[in-house]
Amino acid sequence: MTFKKIAALIAENKDMDISDITMETSFDDMELDSLDVIEVVMSIEEAFGITMEIDDSIKTVGDLVNLVESLAK
């Protein structure tokens, strides 16, 4: 499942408790700055074998999950 995989990647990369991560969790909630987000995106790209274009509209874990799912189709 996309969400679980992405939550696990964020938790591992950013040393966070995976149980704190939900679809609604925002990057701000997690105190992730733009450089953290880029690193997370790069790890998602590698894990899923996709390339993502991110912009300011991507603010939450759910936004990432939806983007990845739309690209995987």
């Binding site: 700055d33 450089l35 880029i38 995106v41 390339t51 274009e53 991110i54 912009d55």
Partner: protein, 314 residues
Amino acid sequence: MKTEITELLGIEYPVLQGGMAWVANASLAGAVSNAGGLGIIAAANAPVDVVCDEIRKTKELTSKPFGVNIMLLSPFADDIAKLVIAEDIKVVTTGAGLPTKYMKEWIQAGITVIPVAPSCGVARMVQRSGASAVIAEGGEAGGHIGELNTMALIPQVCDAVHIPVIAAGGIADGRGIAAAFMLGASGVQMGTRFLVAKECTIHRTYKDKILASKDIDTMTTGKRLGHPVRALKTPFTRAFQKNENDSARTIEELEAFGAGALRKAVISGDEKEGCFMAGQCCGLVNKEQTADEIIRELMIQTEEALIGGSKWVK
């Protein structure tokens, strides 16, 4: 001196002049390119006609390659992105974000794209989008800066990407350039040193302040705003710091306090309200020279430092 960067850009010396907002105009960029480095015009927040004018002036001053730096948060970024194609600019550097959405068109137009990367993640991402090289800039630099310092950042970025890396932040003489090469970079970008170039048209007061400044004379403000800025310690930066530490001040108030401060320093030399952006290497910058003299001196020092390196090897 030949490196991957001189080959890539078709220049004589691996020295780029930073795209400093309000500072990096045709006069400075043309002089640096004529001296064999890469002069860069800063588009900053300027509208298209102003940038176009500087580009055309630079073309009159030099037949050598020069670049344009695009500040991606500029309200005119989309238009400047088109302008560099229309004006047949050879090299584009970018700052303040990811240039992803422009990359395809620029590369198709034959532009060499070199984004500034403050982290390995950004460097890898822009490499993937087709960047020809990256500028890894450490927090010793003047102006808007990242968290990592040059010494730690450069080798990590060199390991993270296979494209050439240009080191920036804290480099003002040949020793810095030689050190950057040892860290894995194949070129450098310098800002503060070129502030005092004779062809640099900033206010006299700005130059005098740089020439007089010492190692401890810069500070970083704006961390609370999420975009820290390094500048000389002046009444303005101290007042900004005070406001920033005052939790009663809102982000909007702080932004308003800082607005226009760089222009006041560059254009009017305003010692009270100007923000004199400078890197930590300002204490190494103590004479006014032409861009040509600066680059020649840099190259002699770099070679001396590199040749001297063998004394450490058995």
